[in-house]
């Protein structure tokens, strides 16, 4: 495939899951196992196509758009069907397909009540197209469609296959996110009319920027900020997250943490910063402060949790705080850090949710006190895995979690685009507080390990039989476990891909 001409490959990879999901819905519901295998096949073929795209991707020109499809779509409003991929999109796009494939494999064996694999997998495939499309759409309207498309299947996934409070969690998730995205849509329209260029194309608008008065930039950024900040989620817009993540079925939580949250940060980097650089510069210190509050607040909440899944959910608030701190730095290093942290969080927290889900499968409870320790004795392989992923999440050097957090703090010491002149003291303070946050993060994860892994298993568990890690789990987890180590040892794997694209982007910031 030639990255200059093979736009079709991207289109096929993007819509194959949606079409496959439709085909799945037409299969008779009685074919339980066949449906699950078909889902693995669909996600597998799509993933193979994405591997082919990655293999032929011209890494020398990762700053430029490749695999471009750009055709008119809605003439009345000048919207175009504009898909492409560059160094910023590629890692996230890849992660989306990898995680969905692993989820499909995992669902071969494990599916929460009420079962119904057909509906579940069809929704998951629809979700996949929505998520992946967000990362490769280069037209604001198209981006918005994919962005919103994600809501519907996730709503049903939480609402039908979720935990006890699924009704509340699913509606809260839907309405909260919707609320943000309608303001985002209004801001997109304002940008369209203000630019006067009759285009929704993200690269064209970025090239035109900055346009409009500072007031316009501030208000438009505020609208976009609401949409993205809710999705990330940034403190104080995070309250939907613990409920949604905790109540969602395992696959739902994995995709929520692994991909959905990334859409918010990706949106900041792809749309908000380059198109509204002045607004972004004005908001950067606010973003920084909210990010650091999120880090501390998330960590403190984690210390107070008794439910292991809810603990992991709150840890996302803290980790995404580091990502947003990188963005608030407004320089190349910061954006690199944010993108890396994004990816690492997707892999690590996705994996943690897999583990939490399996733990629930075995113990039928997620209460840390009820589980009561001794897992290393009872389920040794499982205990080791939990330790490995937890220390990766707390940012141990040598594993993937480290680079995003460390680099973000490093970047925030000397923020870009003149922020250093007026806000040097503030940013320094932010870095200090964020560093304290890493200590708290280490604290709650180690405490979790102590309570779950160490000591002797309580009577009620040691007398019964609990399965250690199953084959299907090894298969679906192995790629993530390898990636955690690989990215930790060789971060250039991602940094290198993004480098040229980030440099371009920082050019738009005028720093």
């Amino acid at each position: 495939m030639d990255p200059n001409t093979a736009g079709w490959a991207l289109v096929v990879a993007l819509f194959l899951p949606l079409v496959g999901g439709g085909a799945l819905a037409l299969m008779p519901a009685a074919l339980d196992q066949q449906i699950r295998r078909a889902a693995v096949l669909i996600t597998g073929v799509s993933f193979a196509l994405v591997i082919a795209i990655t293999a032929t991707f011209d890494f020398g020109r990762s700053g430029e758009l490749q695999f471009v499809t750009d055709v008119p779509w809605i003439a009345a409003i000048d919207a175009r069907f504009f898909l492409a991929i560059d160094g910023i999109s590629l890692p996230l796009f890849f992660l989306t397909y990898l995680l969905t494939l692993l989820c499909a494999i995992y669902s071969l064996k494990v599916l929460p009540p009420p079962g119904k694999p057909k509906a579940f997998l069809a929704l998951m495939l629809m979700l996949q197209t929505g998520m992946a499309g967000t990362f490769v759409a280069f037209d604001l309207i198209l981006f918005f469609i994919f962005w919103e498309l994600v809501l519907v299947p996730m709503f049903f996934m939480i609402g039908i296959w979720g935990g006890p409070r699924r009704d509340y969690a699913s509606v809260k998730f839907f309405l909260y996110t919707l609320f943000g995205s309608v303001f985002m849509l209004v801001a997109f329209l304002a940008i369209y009319f203000q630019s006067g260029a009759q285009t929704w194309s993200i690269p064209e608008l970025s090239a035109l920027a900055p346009f409009g008065s500072t007031t316009f930039q501030t208000w438009a950024f505020l609208g976009i900020f609401l949409g993205f900040a809710i999705k990330v989620p940034m403190w104080p817009f995070h309250t939907w997250l613990p409920d949604a993540h905790t109540e969602a079925p395992t696959v739902g939580s994995v995709l929520l943490a692994g991909v959905l949250l990334k859409m918010g940060t990706y949106g900041f980097i792809r749309i908000a910063l380059p198109i509204l650089p002045e607004g972004a510069t004005r908001f950067a210190p606010i973003i920084g402060v909210l990010a650091v509050i999120g880090i501390i607040y998330g960590s403190l909440c984690c210390l107070a949790q008794t439910d292991i899944k809810r603990l992991i959910a709150f840890s996302s608030v803290g980790h995404m705080g580091f990502v947003m701190l990188g963005i608030a730095a407004m320089n190349a290093t910061g954006i690199q850090a944010a993108l890396f942290g994004n990816l690492a969080h997707g892999i690590i927290t996705g994996m943690l949710f897999f583990l939490a889900g399996s733990l629930h499968e075995r113990y039928h409870t997620r209460d840390i006190a009820t589980i009561g320790g001794g897992m290393l004795k009872l389920l040794p392989r499982y205990g080791v895995l939990l330790t490995y992923v937890a220390v990766a999440s707390l940012g141990l050097p040598g594993l993937a979690g480290f680079w995003g957090e460390f680099t973000a703090m490093w970047a925030a010491i000397s923020p870009g685009v003149g922020l250093a002149d007026s806000y040097q003291g503030l940013y320094l303070a932010l870095v200090v507080v964020a560093a304290l946050g890493t200590v708290l993060t280490a604290g709650y994860f180690l405490w979790l390990l102590q309570r779950v892994n160490l000591g002797d298993p309580p009577e009620r568990w040691s007398s019964g039989h609990l399965d250690d890690v199953m084959t299907i789990e090894w298969v679906s987890w192995a790629p993530l476990l390898v990636l955690i180590l690989a990215l930790g040892v060789y971060p250039r794997l991602v940094f290198g891909v993004q480098d040229a694209a980030v440099t371009n982007l920082v050019g738009f910031l005028g720093g």
């Binding site: 498309l149 609402g159 509606v171 009319f193």
Partner: protein
Amino acid sequence: MAIDWLAIAPEVALTVTALLVLAADLALRGDAKQLVNPLAMIGTVVAIVFAVVLWAEAPRVAFEGQYVVDSFAVAFKLLFLGTLLAILAISARYFAEGRYFQGEYYFLLLTAFIGMLLMPSARDLLVLFIALETVSVPAFVMVGMRKRDLYSSEAALKFFLIGVLSAALMLFGMSMVYGFTGTTRLEGIAQALAGDAGSVPLLLGSVMLVIVGFGFKISAVPFHFWAPDTYAGSPLPVAAMLAVASKAAGFAGLLTIAFVAFEPVADVWAPVLGVLAILTMTLGNLVALQQRDLIRLLAYSSIAQAGYMLIPFGLARPGAEVVNQAAVRAVLFYLIAYAVMNVGAFAVAIGVNRRTGERSIRDYAGLGTRSPLLALAMTVFLLSLGGAPLTVGLWAKFAIIEAVAVEVTVFGLVMASFLVVNSVIAFFYYLRVIREIWFEPAAAEAPRLQPALSLSVVVVVLMVGTILLGVLPGLVADPTVVTTFATGG
């Protein structure tokens, strides 16, 4: 002067069909009476063919400029005829089984639609009034068709009294407008208003009276009280007709009179309608949250939808052609989208209600297992009414926000923020129904549903339409870009 028969061909086709239906009902006996439904459908299809031909021929001016067939009018005629076709299809079983007065029903239905076809073409106050009454009078009777049902009678009486009151107010306003301007022709009124007459307070008052008359028709707050009771009491296909076609006719009339006749005094009525828009959508949505009956929920939701559609009226300014045209286009697009999704929602409600009599939201529990087709369709329609992506509803809301953004004003932004907040509120009750459908188990004794073939076809077509237009809104948006008011001769 010779009559331009082509210009009124759809109306003539429908009139002939209506008379044939009445005659057939008298001539046929027993089960053969059911043939009137296909007969009415054939007539509608013929009218659609004429309307499509007219689309290429527009604009045509007939009756010395009192009757104009421009692209705006033809777009509305196609909308009405399409709705009529769908309503005929979902009426078939409902009326055949209910032992209603079939012939009369179809005759009255067709008559009401003749009035609707007249509405967007009328360029004279009197023609407009006749059109409006031709829509209303048959509707009064149709609402009360379930004679032995107390609710139906109450609904009909309420609808009749409020309808007559509004007609009287409107006629009073029209007579005063005529008194001040000396003409009943819409363009003549516009000229007079643009001159000195525009500053007379009493004239402006009568302009408002005329607009208020249409407010009843589109069930805008505070003239909405009849709608929920009437929808709930009337036969369901009639409720669908009132909620979609009759409302669209009201909007067609309001658009013509507001943007052709009263355009020079837009700065007087636009803020009023804008405030009504805000009140209508907010009140409709807040009350809809409390409903337990699905039909009443749809009634309040359609009040809220009318509120959204009033927003573009609030943007109008005298002489600002770009803004006004964008406003007209936004309303038209919203109405088309609204017709597709709301007729669909009513069709599903009929499918569920037909044999079981179920209509409360709780009765929809487990619909996903009782009838996957109806459940899926209802989900799509409700998501679309809310404005979810990949449904036409999103583009409908988009069109309105786009109209606001053409020329940003503070008032426009206020209305847009109300739209945004209201969309979120509305999703809350749409999701409540969706939750019942999919998340709750069906009651043990609930039967599986077997909707009639014609109803299933309508539901599938509308569902596919909702999604197709959600992916490619250009199919409607691109041709309607050119819809404008042609000046009468």
